[in-house]
């Protein structure tokens, strides 16, 4: 920086205002919004469910709503189906997306470009349109039934309104991010390492197991955390495509809050979903922070 610009010091110039926190003023609005509408609701939800006003009016520590949740058959069924759906989606996403990402990483040309744009495409299809398409294709008398009937095969047992409905929808919805995250991880695997292994006679299976997987372990965990966070409390797809009972935590919380009109219990359910996802959330934040730091 020259003497001229030093002389004409202006607020936007970083060099001079290092000690003056104008920056704090500029970032204040969004930061306060996060504090008010993210941090505070979470703190308040935990507080309100653990410390409740007793009959005498005193505020005391209690686990009542949690004890109710974990002793209520219906709540537990909902939790179980949520865990099952999340696990099944994570498994299917891994099985579907890893081969796609591997293929995209190790090939070039028009066909891979086409495959990549297809894999990213669901990102631009809102889940509500996806739900509608799902019903028209896999629902009763949907397109699949029509085609099967045309070739003389029996109808499918439709996954619509069964636990498989949300699984299929959520996997479809989460393919793009999973592929992108895995692909970005595969960028760290050098061609030389693979060629060296191939030169000494390693088969593709061994290369995958010993060279590739250890290097993209972090990306796999990030993709896993991301999809678990998204799927565990997803609302639209389970609400439209899933069975009425047992229902996933998303629709369950919504119904408890709006239809049953029991905010206290709904917050308890929310805190329980936080509890189940905390590990994934922390891991996600840690790896994003580490990535940005690079």
């Amino acid at each position: 920086m020259t003497a001229v610009s030093q002389a004409s010091a202006r607020p936007l110039d970083q060099g001079e205002n290092r000690r003056r926190p104008y920056g704090l003023l500029l970032v204040a609005a969004p930061v306060l919004l996060v504090a008010w509408l993210v941090i505070w609701p979470i703190v308040s939800a935990v507080g309100r469910t653990l410390f409740q006003r007793s009959d005498e009016g005193a505020i005391e520590f209690t686990l009542d709503t949690y004890l109710f949740f974990f002793s209520d058959r219906y709540s537990l069924d909902n939790l179980t189906v949520t865990l099952w759906t999340t696990g099944m989606c994570a498994l299917l996403l891994f099985v579907i997306c890893l081969p796609i990402a591997l293929y995209l990483r190790f090939s070039a040309g028009r066909l891979p470009a086409y495959v990549q744009s297809l894999a990213i495409f669901p990102m631009f299809v809102p889940s509500i349109i996806l739900s509608y398409a799902f019903i028209r294709v896999l629902g009763p008398n949907g397109m699949v039934d029509i085609l099967l009937n045309a070739v003389g095969l029996p109808k499918i047992r439709t996954p619509y309104l069964t636990p498989w409905g949300p699984v299929i929808g959520l996997v479809w919805d989460n393919i793009p991010l999973t592929v992108l995250i895995l692909l970005s991880g595969l960028g760290n695997v050098s061609n030389q390492a693979i060629e060296a292994a191939r030169d000494v006679g390693a088969r593709w299976g061994q290369v995958l197991w010993h060279i590739i997987l250890p290097r993209i372990g972090n990306s796999i965990l990030v993709a896993l955390s991301f999809s678990v966070l998204g799927i565990f409390s997803s609302f639209t797809l389970p609400y439209v495509l899933g069975p009425a009972a047992p229902e996933m935590m998303g629709p369950f919380m919504q119904r408890t809050f709006r239809d049953v009109n029991d905010p206290q219990m709904a917050i308890t359910q929310a805190v329980i979903t936080f509890g189940f996802c905390i590990v994934f959330g922390l891991f996600y934040v840690r790896s994003v922070a580490r990535n940005q730091g690079k």
Partner: protein, 275 residues
């Protein structure tokens, strides 16, 4: 991917063809079915193609008052949320990219907090706060909840844009006597502008399709387009209504797809998600 060599000549890429076919069937085919339904007047099971094509249901859908009020409301919401978000986030992004101040890193990463929790659980916790503030079922309640959803995008993408501006060009302009505002207008903005525009567009489209906050906070007074879609699907009304709305709704998404390619293509996007 640029580092890989092209496949040896004469080898057919069977794996690629397999993926291309499987993904086309799983991803494009359902959307074609929806598109077909939108232009169908009569399609009875088990015919493979509709008996009668036509635009009758476009007229019927578009003459429904609830469709128009939902569309207007959704556009209003998206516009207000995007403008507010740009107004508070872009200056913040500039500050994060260019200034030093106490707590800069902690505050920068604080925007991740909203994404480190399961979203609907967080929405329920916010709804409990809004319940005490009488914001449930109001326009501004939905604005606030959707605004929170845009923060991460609208700060992190522009921060990256501002950081990638060539500082030497700015300094050179300052050296020949340009004012900071002039530098910002003529050097910084043209370089960072396209990416910022893509972020703004993403936040507009994302808000337009935001369903969960609108459903939980807005009901019953605020009925946005996606919320209306859910009721159409649940009530099993005329099949074509849903199809026509899907096609209509998909237009903004398509525009976003075209514009966002540059943001997503850069790989910065996946990194933003921690990949």
């Amino acid at each position: 991917m640029a580092a890989t060599l092209p496949a040896p000549r004469g080898r057919i890429d069977f794996v690629g063809i397999g993926f291309a076919i499987a993904l086309s069937v799983a991803i494009i085919f359902p959307l074609i079915v929806v598109g077909t339904w939108a232009f169908t007047e009569v399609w009875r099971y088990p015919n493979i193609v509709p008996q009668q094509f036509g635009l009758r249901f476009w007229n019927q859908t578009l003459s429904r008052a609830d469709v128009w009020s939902a569309l207007t409301l959704s556009l209003q919401l998206s516009t207000v949320v995007t403008l507010l978000s740009a107004a508070i986030c872009l200056p913040a992004a500039y500050a994060f990219a260019r200034m030093t101040f106490p707590g800069r890193n902690v505050l920068f990463f604080s925007f991740l907090a909203g994404h480190a929790f399961p979203k609907f659980g967080l929405l329920v916790a916010i709804a409990a706060i809004f319940l005490q503030l009488n914001l449930i079922g109001t326009f501004w309640g939905v604005v606030l909840i959707q605004l929170v959803g845009t923060l991460l995008f609208m700060i992190w993408i522009p921060v990256a844009a501002f950081q990638s501006v060539d500082r030497r060009m700015e300094e050179a302009a300052r050296d020949v006597g340009a004012s900071p505002l002039r530098v910002f207008w003529s050097i910084t903005l043209p370089q960072a502008g396209p990416t910022i525009a893509a972020a703004v567009l993403l936040s507009f489209v994302g808000t337009f399709y935001e369903t969960e906050g609108a459903w939980l906070i807005g009901a019953p007074g605020i009925r946005t387009m996606p919320v209306l879609m859910i009721t159409f699907i649940n009530n099993q009304m005329v099949i074509q209504y849903g199809a026509v709305l899907s096609v209509l709704l998909w237009v903004p998404s398509f525009i976003a797809l075209m514009f966002a390619r540059r943001v997503i293509g850069g790989g910065a996007f996946a990194r933003g998600f921690g990949g």
